[in-house]
């Protein structure tokens, strides 16, 4: 049984291609300079259509977290973390926290990105706690 795989689109493909190269990239609007996540065909702030892909630090803080005690399917071995990460560049994304025991995470904790194989050639960004 496979984990759920992200259904890529033409617009989002560069995000996933960058993940396969071990890099986190976000769209940046050429008109208003804002970064956005998730990827869209237009800038959700100003409507600009000129969007460039820009590498970002992959560092951030936990906005919140939970530990799922009963997995969504057999492919997800519980317990596992589901987290919201605020990247240093100002966008929020859902992800997993890995290499972290229950009780170690807290809201506000510093994290950094790493990349995990998700099956069938997909690579997803996940996070781990970052030491100072």
């Amino acid at each position: 049984m496979n984990k759920l795989l992200p259904p890529e689109t033409e617009v989002s493909r560069p995000f996933w291609d960058a993940c396969k190269q071990g890099e986190l990239q976000l769209q940046q609007c050429q008109s208003c300079d804002r970064l956005q996540f998730y990827p869209r065909a237009i800038c959700s702030h100003c409507g600009g259509e000129g969007l460039l892909w820009r590498p970002v630090s992959g560092r951030g803080k936990l906005a919140s977290y939970t530990i799922v005690q009963r997995g969504i399917s057999r492919a997800y071995e519980a317990p596992y973390y589901v987290v919201l990460v605020d990247l240093e560049e100002g966008v929020r994304m859902m992800s997993s926290l890995v290499e972290c025991e229950p009780g170690e995470a807290e809201v506000g904790a510093k994290v950094e990105v790493l990349f995990q194989d998700w099956g069938e050639g997909h690579v997803l960004p996940v996070f781990k706690l970052r030491d100072e």
Binding site: Y65, T66, V68, Q69, G71, M93, S96
Partner: protein, 393 residues
């Protein structure tokens, strides 16, 4: 400035309300439950089905239909001139009521039945139940990480705890208060008393939410009948008036929410209060969407019953319990009365109508004058608040 809704205020009233049995009802389809509720509500209004010219419903997970409202009309052999299914998750009920009120005021229909049912408990196959879990959330940027429905709400609870020092015991207090109300309601699915200790020692589902922080999974149906305030006053001496209605919509996916601890219940409430010309202090009770305990915490704050961050202390004060300063979910809520999915908040609405008719039996709130009902759909995404009253003025 936005139209505050003075054309709607007090112009629409509820004249019928009915629930089916709730809980585990094997062998009964959502359509059967929906039809039963609709006919009972029409009967409660003292009308015949031929008097009804508007019909609103919602989709059911156990019996997915392309056109559920039309299918219900066909099943009952009703031929409305206004017919629509609303899909806004848990917010469906009050979005539908907001639409129905607008349809009455604008003359799209004179007498509208809103009927909803589902069989989440007995009617879903294991695969369907898994599908419900797996299709919540953004398919590309959330679902692959394996969040369950409780996990999304756990993220809200954890953020509230970190920001304001809210405790698991305070969340548990919400479940306990709902259960105390349910104990007084012969129709409620769960009627055994529980303690805070019971809640915090129940199985962890998604930290910090325990099993008893999570709502029930139920079968059941419910319906109401609405018409103009003028017609309502001719039909019965205790119509319940719609004084205020307001909505707020900020996101679909929790990772795109502007805030984890403040929701669009705030805008929904402000709009409903403004239309009604009333405020939170005027409410005799509140029925707040309680799919998981943290939603009630955030809603108490956002709807103005206490300051932001003080929801935990407000729960500790005992306000939510029977006889408290703000009884919440007087039928037992989704936590202890029933939660058949999209129709869940219908039971909070019928309960509010009975409270304002002064016919709620042992659980009657004394001198109930005005009540606030609220529902949200998605993950704290789309919110609708209604102010109901005994008084149409």
């Amino acid at each position: 400035m936005a139209n505050p809704g003075s054309q709607m205020r007090g112009k629409v009233a509820f004249i019928g309300a009915a629930d089916t049995e709730v809980g585990k009802l094997p062998g009964r389809t959502p359509m059967e439950l929906c039809a039963e509720a609709a006919l009972k509500a029409i009967d409660d209004a003292g009308l015949k089905k031929s008097d009804v010219d508007g019909l609103l419903s919602c989709s059911s997970m156990a019996q997915p239909l392309m056109y559920p409202a039309e299918a219900l009309a066909e099943y009952l052999q009703m031929f409305p001139r206004y017919c629509m299914a609303v899909g806004a998750g848990g917010g469906t009920t009050f979005s539908a009521i907001h639409h129905a009120a607008s349809a009455i005021v604008t003359g799209m229909a004179d007498v509208i039945v809103v009927a909803m049912a589902d069989s989440m408990r007995s009617g879903l196959t294991r695969d369907q139940a898994m599908q419900v879990q797996a299709t919540t959330g953004h398919p590309e940027f959330e679902q692959p990480y394996g969040p369950t429905v409780p996990a999304y709400y756990a993220l809200i609870a954890q953020a509230h705890m970190a920001e304001f020092g809210t405790t698991s015991e305070q969340l548990a207090g919400i479940a306990v208060a709902c259960r105390e109300h349910a104990c007084l309601n012969p129709a409620a699915q769960m009627r055994d008393p529980i303690t805070i200790e019971d809640v915090v020692s129940s199985r962890m589902i998604a930290d910090p939410l325990h099993l008893l922080d999570c709502s029930l999974v139920s079968d059941g149906g419910s319906a109401v009948v609405l018409c103009s305030a003028e017609r309502a006053a001719e039909l019965r001496d205790d119509p319940v008036y719609l004084l205020g209605a307001g909505e707020g919509h900020t996101h679909e996916h929790i990772s795109a929410a502007h805030s984890l601890t403040t929701s669009a219940a705030k805008e929904a409430g402000e709009r409903a209060y403004q239309m009604a010309g009333l405020g939170p202090k005027d409410m005799s009770f509140a029925q707040l969407y309680d799919c998981f305990t943290p939603t009630v915490l955030v809603e108490l704050e956002d709807l103005g019953f206490c300051a932001k961050g003080e929801g935990g202390a407000f729960v500790d004060s005992g306000a939510l319990k029977p006889g408290g300063s703000l009884p919440v979910n007087t039928h037992g809520g989704l936590l202890s009365h029933s939660h058949p999915g999209n129709p869940g908040s219908m039971f909070a609405l019928t309960e509010s109508i009975w409270q304002l008719r002064n016919t709620a039996g042992e659980r009657q709130v004394s001198n109930a004058q005005h009540g606030l009902v609220h529902a949200q759909g998605g993950i704290m995404s789309s919110h609708t608040a209604l102010v109901l009253s005994r008084d149409g003025g």
